[in-house]
Amino acid sequence: MSEARDDGIRKDPVGGEPSGRRTGDPLPLEDVGRLVDMLRDSGVGEIRVRQGELEISVKAKPEAPSPGPPPVAEAPSNEAVSQLEPPAKVDGLHAVRSPLVGTFYRAPAPGEEPYVEVGDVVRAGQPLCIVEAMKLMNEIPSDISGEVVEVLADNAGGVEYDQPLFRLRPEA
């Protein structure tokens, strides 16, 4: 899906014009407003859109870490897209979950370095990956500070909402 990055769909959610913007153009405030709405409704941490020279980035206010993961129901026996979800905390580890359904990318763009590798120590708010939905690249920030112990999702694979993406050992 990533090869179709500049088809007609991409601009619909942001409502912009199809072709290159220039420095003198009026600021696309309506687009920004929509992105803000989308960020709020979807619960993601950040949305970034780049289009030619235009780049809009919307980030959520840093929140107090949530008291715990949302309850996970027993997985029924159907062929779900996702793997069986491991419990959020195993051996004191913390799972960073996907705030939206989409395609998981470990790097900001094809050919670039992954945001993080196993063994990296990250700060809360630091981007860990991208989840793409409808051609929008959503940077997923870490919700805690700690060490990356495991990457749970496959690069360029689908992830569900609330699916664990990384396991982190929280900072002592």
Binding site: M1, G8, I9, D12, P13, M38, D41, S42, G43, P70, V72, A73, E74, P76, S77, N78, E79, A80, V81, S82, L100, V101, G102, T103, E132, A133, M134, L136, G158, E160, Y161, D162, Q163
Partner: protein, 463 residues
Amino acid sequence: MIGKVLVANRGEVALRVVRACRELGLRSVAVYSTADADSLHRMLADEAICIGPPPASGSYLNIPAIISAAELTGADAIHPGYGFLAENARFAEICERVGVKFVGPSSRVISMMGDKSAARRAAREAGVPVTPGSEGVCANAAEAKRVGAEVGYPVVVKASAGGGGKGMRVVEDESRLDAAFTEASREAGAAFGDGSVYIEKYLEDLRHIEVQVLSEAGGKTAAFPERDCSIQRRYQKLLEESPAPGLPEEARRGMMDAAASLVDALGYEGAGTVEFVYSGGEFFFIEMNTRLQVEHPVTEMVTGADLVAEQLKIASGERMDVPSSAAASVGGHAIEFRINAEDPRRNFLPQAGPVEFYNPPGGPGVRVDSHLYAGYKVPPHYDSLLAKLIVFATDREAAIRRGLRALDELAIAGVETTLPLHLAILEDEDFRRGGVSTSFLARRELRNDEGLLRLVPAGASPG
């Protein structure tokens, strides 16, 4: 041809679509919010994907999440069910643009029928009688007054973008029109982001009668025998039946023909419902719902058609399996009871929480469409519909007796439901005679009678 259908909904209608897919050999994909992780639609679909948090805005109304889910699972069609995104023209348009087949009419038709004054115009142009009133939107109160004088009072001011009674005002005489126009317009603006209103003659003692249609978009069109949906509470349908009791054959044919004409004129594709008011022997178009309706099983029971399977066949480019024009009734009578998680003894307070015991009725002439099971937790985030009980019998009297029997068997423990209200309706003399108007419930009060509910005339002294 479609091969895999994403069901962009939850609850009983998601199950309904999953069932139809399985029977047609199509793969189904359920989407669900974290609040619905234990839901039957998730468990019974071939695949399931979590699309967001409990609030519908983040999940079942979250267009990017649903489109992503379709892309990730390789679904080539999306069935929207009813509610949520089913009449969202933008969603249909996005589906069209990403090349996923939207099971329903084109975004253009959804958009036109969503604009009530445009829909009225389309109906009039197709030769369908519409309630006397303004040609389109009324620009201002002065124009409204001109229309009022023409059609006679009372009139009703309605929001063009409206539905569910919002932005609507009944006006008894011209002196009150100015204020009503302003209020309705303001309310419509707040609710729908569009303050346009139009004027219709206000009809009293009307019945809500609707015609189910199926159309191949340029191919065959079928209009089905009508449904009577006059039992409503605050514009929400509660009980529907087919055929409409005592409806003259001429009116039935008239509505079916009118519905078919409109659908043909629109180049409509798929299933839809043309709604009429019926009053004093005349019928008038009010609006068209461009989707499957909650009450579609009533039509399925009396005609033997499988409307959801037909929707999917049409979306797949196949021919539908129903006779062209007016499918014949098999000659019985069907009634649907909506079992909502609302407490009729406490002003229909919505209920949530675990269903401790659930016994759906069985036996002859009984159909249950429900996502309930013993142990299911009713989440507080969504629509209150828990189950649809549909009964079928050779005639209306037998259907009512079967309904009483089946409602008596149906047991739901843990949450209060509208079940006792349905029992009370079936015991009501006017209802049993048949043909009551939409004011049936408004003119009655609920009275507790040794644990059972009874309907008594509104304002009657305690019995």
